[in-house]
């Protein structure tokens, strides 16, 4: 977009709503940034001379004679290695008291990667958590959210995964993050000595909600710089995408759009996909992996936000408190990593896929047995054994505080199989049974 030598100042606003204002102006580009009495705004509609601006921080106190200048450019972020270790707000301005970052200015929300230039994700991300590594293995270039109720420890698990994942850069996009959680992340990363690998774009609950809309694009523009230009492995953490979607619905509502399911805008799928699809494995080694949080209300995954997310992301991880062992586990039934097939049994031991499926199936049998018990029926010997197995499986493998490598997890699973079941009950391919069944268990 061409730069403008001098800026024309408009002072006649014709319409003000809660989030937008309109004025007569010419030569304005779509998506262009503007300032309205110093507040940042963006062009969302042009009809002849009539231009509608969305003011990110709200229109409270905006007068009809406010000074409006157009900046002649879409939202930008200056990118360079100096971003590392810094904290920014949703506009990419430092909030850590440090100096502004110098570097090349890039448009945020830029173009997508040509699908034929993508590389198939193929590098396993080890986390040490069996609920992830064994049952829902993560791969670089993947996008996956935690579906969690607000009271679940998703921030802790996410921070743990981020630190164990050994990424070159971790980029935190915080949307509507409480100040306490923001400080939690800062402390955890600081204590791990990882602060120089972290870049944060944070919109806290104290900031105006519409500003959040810029956070994912800011975070991902920085991510593309490190992953594409610098060929680094980048992990992007986005929390909480539900609050991002809520901000989308506020804007679409103010723009008089017809809402679709759950009062969300009809474009929710495309809006979310644009963000998540930035996860990519580049041909020259760099990668962007996105781990997000989508908070649920009462565990309802049929709500438009988790529902659309599930169709976009490559799986989802559910946290659940297992009351039998009193620990938080990664729910083996509802969690899924779609890309695990690319690495399990290939970068891990060949028996991995079958062991994983057999264990989950037996765990499901245990759940049925438990239902039977709750309904007051007698249990068969098999039922009893599955329930014993389930408890140990949960305790020794699924709990999020377990930290072992994948081979260790597989051996542990075989041990549990042999302890509680016959070979036929486990139903794994004979060649693996011959190889791994511990005879003297």
């Amino acid at each position: 977009m061409e730069t403008i030598a001098f800026k024309k100042i408009y002072t006649k606003i014709t319409k003000i709503t809660k989030a937008t204002c309109s004025l007569q102006a010419t030569g304005v580009g779509y998506d262009e940034m503007a300032e309205v009495n110093g507040r940042l705004a963006q062009v969302v509609k042009i009809n002849g001379d009539n231009v509608t601006l969305q003011i990110f921080s709200g229109t409270e106190g905006i007068p009809t004679n406010a000074e409006v200048t157009f900046l002649g450019r879409p939202p930008m972020l200056k990118v360079s290695d100096d971003l590392a270790g810094r904290f920014f707000n949703a506009y990419g301005q430092p909030i850590d008291g440090g100096p502004a970052v110098e570097g090349e200015e890039r448009e945020i929300g830029g173009p997508s990667v040509n699908p034929v230039r993508r590389i198939q994700p193929s590098l396993l991300i080890p986390t040490g958590i069996a609920g992830i590594d064994l049952n829902n293995t993560l791969v670089t270039g993947q996008k996956i959210p935690f579906f969690a109720d607000p009271d679940q420890p998703f921030n802790q698990v996410m921070a743990m995964v981020a630190l164990r994942a050994k990424a070159d850069k971790i980029i935190l996009g915080g949307m509507g993050l409480t100040n306490d959680d923001y400080l939690y992340y800062k402390n955890v990363f600081d204590n791990a000595g990882a602060l120089d690998r972290i870049i944060s774009f944070v919109n806290t609950t104290e900031n105006p909600p519409v500003e959040r809309l810029l956070v994912p694009d800011m975070a991902l523009t920085a991510a593309e710089y490190f992953a594409f230009d610098k060929k680094e492995t980048v992990l992007v953490l986005l929390t909480d995408m539900t609050l991002y979607a809520d901000a989308l619905s506020i804007v679409s509502n103010r723009m008089d759009q017809i809402p679709s399911k759950d009062s969300m805008p009809g474009s929710l799928y495309s809006d979310l996909a644009k963000i998540y699809e930035k996860a990519v494995q580049f041909p020259d080694g760099g990668s962007i992996t996105i781990i997000a949080v989508t908070t649920l209300s009462g565990g309802d995954i049929t709500h438009a936000i988790p529902d659309n997310t599930g169709y976009i992301t490559e799986g989802q991880l559910f946290l659940r408190r297992d009351t039998d062992i009193g620990k938080v586990i990664i729910d083996p039934f509802r969690s899924l990593s779609r890309l695990k097939q690319l690495v399990i049994g290939k970068q891990t031991r060949a028996d991995h896929p079958q062991v994983m499926n057999a264990a989950v199936r037996l765990y499901a049998d245990a759940a049925n047995a438990k239902t039977k018990l709750e309904n007051g029926f007698d249990l068969t010997a098999y039922d009893e054994r599955t329930m014993k197995f389930a408890r140990e499986y949960s305790q020794n493998l699924l709990a999020i505080d377990v930290n072992i490598d994948t081979t260790g997890m597989l051996d542990k699973a075989w041990g549990l199989f042999a302890k509680h079941f016959s070979k036929a009950e486990v139903g794994i391919k004979q060649e693996f049974v011959d190889m791994y069944w511990p005879e003297n268990a």
Binding site: V28, P74, G266, S270, I312, Y382
Partner: protein, 590 residues
């Protein structure tokens, strides 16, 4: 862009996201293509509404930076597919631009590449003769495209009848060379090259009739071929909540289905899923031809982060390419993943145009649009008597997994096969998670198809399939009773009934899409296994208590599964079968 005096010009007068209002200075038509100039780039757009002098166009690109006053040029034609040799093995975007020919890692706005290389050379063999009377779709000659005899046809846009005035001799020609000259009824001569264009939103109707389809299309997937078969020229759809395995099932279809060529329209879905095809298909063998799968595959990739408006176009582009190959007498399989994303693209546009919304804010004519689209598939008899088919299978991603939503309901009215993916089956890892009770194939009711099955498989095949279906239903009922009354509250017979249905479930319905042997089951093997399983279900067994039933059937199922993992009739397979028979004899009632 080439200057053309006759073309209608216009200027941009308003912008709301990718809906742009253009003030025009001449005639425009609905669905006409135009290009908007924006600092050296030209953005492709399509007219979707006209009011007075204002044309509303949907832009197939981001409109960032677009200004009032930017100039627009209308092209005088609708969105067209480019048809000719060289489409196979290509990766296109939704507007049929060749993705491999684009520069750089990132897509650039306004970078449009040619669908077909006009300079590529092909070995031409004439099929018609000078003096032949021909019409749209008549075969003039053929070239070898990969292993397919690609017919060079009279362009579909040609109306009426023509005479072949001149035809090129056999030899090596560029795609853009004139291969024939046709003379119309008024003596006007028209040159024909290997390349032609046709509007994607119009159906190619160069055939004499569209009879009811009757030939089984083998997919190697047992729950489809055995229980809910689809036919050549049939339509089907796969609705399912996320995580229920829609894409894995579609990929299995694209790998294994017995079609001459496969067109995959990745419509608003994940880019990594398309990458999987890019990566695997060049290495996987097509068992029927011994060639690589990629040689019979064309991919239309409009992933979810690519422009929304092009998503709508992508399914039409794919269908038009399918119709082109069908006119050559080929069996085409068209897969679209997912038609819900297409419907959502329609919804976004309808919303921006401030149309009154239908259910769930979808446009009111959604059911009509969907059924028109499905109607373009089918089995046809061409003008020269040979036949061709497009089998279409679309996936649907129902919001919240609830099948009572507009896209699923509209599709259900249009498609003849219904493969309902069930969350419950997916949760218990019973893949493919096609619900055996809810799913159906209407083709089983076609008398033509019934005859075909009794001739090609066995006379009692349909009865056996029905029997298997009944056993599944009875097993489900028995299981419900057991859950209500408790294991010891029901007769042993209920447990037997339940476990017989489990045998069918584990051995016939469930299939390991990632196992080399089990992933694809030829029909002969499917028949063998169904007979074996029904035989087991028919054997009366003796048990003293219900507690013996579960472990016994687990052994039976385990042996049958090991058979599924073994090469058909291999030593290993036979050993497992012998062991199975011995196990069966243990309990056989006298």
């Amino acid at each position: 862009m080439m200057e053309n005096k006759n073309r209608t010009k216009g200027v941009v007068s308003g912008i709301i996201a990718n809906l742009v209002m253009v003030e025009v200075s001449g005639p425009v038509s609905q669905n006409e293509i135009c290009y908007i100039e924006l600092s050296g780039e030209s953005l492709m757009a399509e007219v979707i509404k006209v009011i007075g002098k204002v044309a509303y166009v949907q832009v197939f690109e981001s409109t960032r930076g677009l200004k009032v006053g930017n100039t627009v040029e209308f092209m005088g034609h609708m969105l067209e597919a480019t048809l000719g040799p060289g489409i196979l093995s290509r990766n296109y975007d939704g507007l049929q631009h060749d993705l491999d020919k684009m520069d750089g890692v990132f897509l650039k706005r306004g970078e449009y590449t040619q669908a077909i290389d006009p300079n590529a050379k092909w070995d031409f063999k004439p099929l018609a003769k000078v003096g032949d009377a021909v019409s749209a779709g008549s075969w003039l000659g053929s070239v070898k495209e990969n292993w397919i005899d690609h017919k060079i046809m009279v362009p579909f846009k040609f109306e009426g009848s023509y005479k072949v005035k001149w035809l090129a001799e056999a030899g090596n020609y560029m795609a853009s060379e004139t291969m024939a000259v046709l003379e119309d009824e008024n003596g006007k001569e028209l040159p024909v090259t290997m390349i032609q264009h046709f509007p994607v939103k119009l159906a190619i109707k160069a055939y004499t009739e569209k009879p009811r389809p009757y030939r089984l299309m083998e997919t190697g997937i047992r729950i489809i071929d055995t229980l809910n078969p689809i036919v050549e020229g049939g339509t089907g759809f796969i609705p399912g909540p996320f995580g229920s395995g829609k894409t894995v099932l579609q990929h299995a279809l694209s790998r294994q289905a017995e079609a001459d060529l496969i067109i995959v329209a990745a419509c608003g879905e994940r880019a990594n899923e398309v990458v999987e095809i890019f990566y695997e298909f060049p290495h996987l063998d097509d068992p029927r031809t011994g060639r690589k799968l990629i040689e019979r595959t064309t991919i239309i990739a409009n992933t979810s982060n690519m422009p929304v408006a092009a998503r709508e176009a992508s399914v039409y582009t794919a269908m038009t390419i399918g119709e082109y190959y069908r006119s050559m007498g080929l069996k085409v399989l068209l897969l679209a993943d997912s038609t819900s994303r297409w419907a959502q693209a329609l919804r976004e546009m309808s919303n921006r145009m401030e149309e009154l919304p239908g259910p769930d804010a979808f446009p009111m004519d959604l059911p009509a649009i969907i059924s028109n689209f499905y109607a373009r598939a089918g089995y046809v008899r061409l003008n020269n008597g040979s036949t061709g088919s497009i089998t279409f299978i679309g996936t649907v991603s129902p919001a919240g997994g609830n099948l009572k939503e507009p896209v699923t309901e509209s599709t259900k009215k249009a498609a003849r096969c219904f493969y309902a993916l069930s969350q419950q089956r997916a949760d218990s890892k019973r893949y493919p998670a096609v619900d055996p009770i809810d799913s159906y194939s209407k083709y089983l009711e076609y008398s033509e198809f019934q005859e075909y099955l009794s001739e090609h498989i066995s006379v009692d095949w349909i009865d056996k399939v029905e029997l298997a279906r009944n056993l599944l239903l009875r097993g489900k009922e028995a299981n419900e009773q057991i859950n209500i009354l408790g294991d010891d509250g029901v007769p042993i017979d209920y447990h037997l009934r339940y476990w017989r249905s489990e045998v069918i479930d584990f051995v016939i319905l469930q299939q390991d899409a990632f196992d080399k042997v089990d992933s694809s089951t030829p029909l002969e093997r499917q028949q063998y296994m169904l007979n074996l399983v029904l035989n087991i279900c028919d054997t009366s067994l003796d048990f003293d208590s219900f507690e013996e039933v579960n472990p016994y059937f687990k052994r039976i199922i385990n042996l049958l599964k090991q058979m599924n993992y073994s090469d058909f009739k291999s030593e290993q397979f036979n050993n497992f079968e012998n062991e199975l028979m011995a196990t069966l004899n243990e309990r056989k009632a006298a």
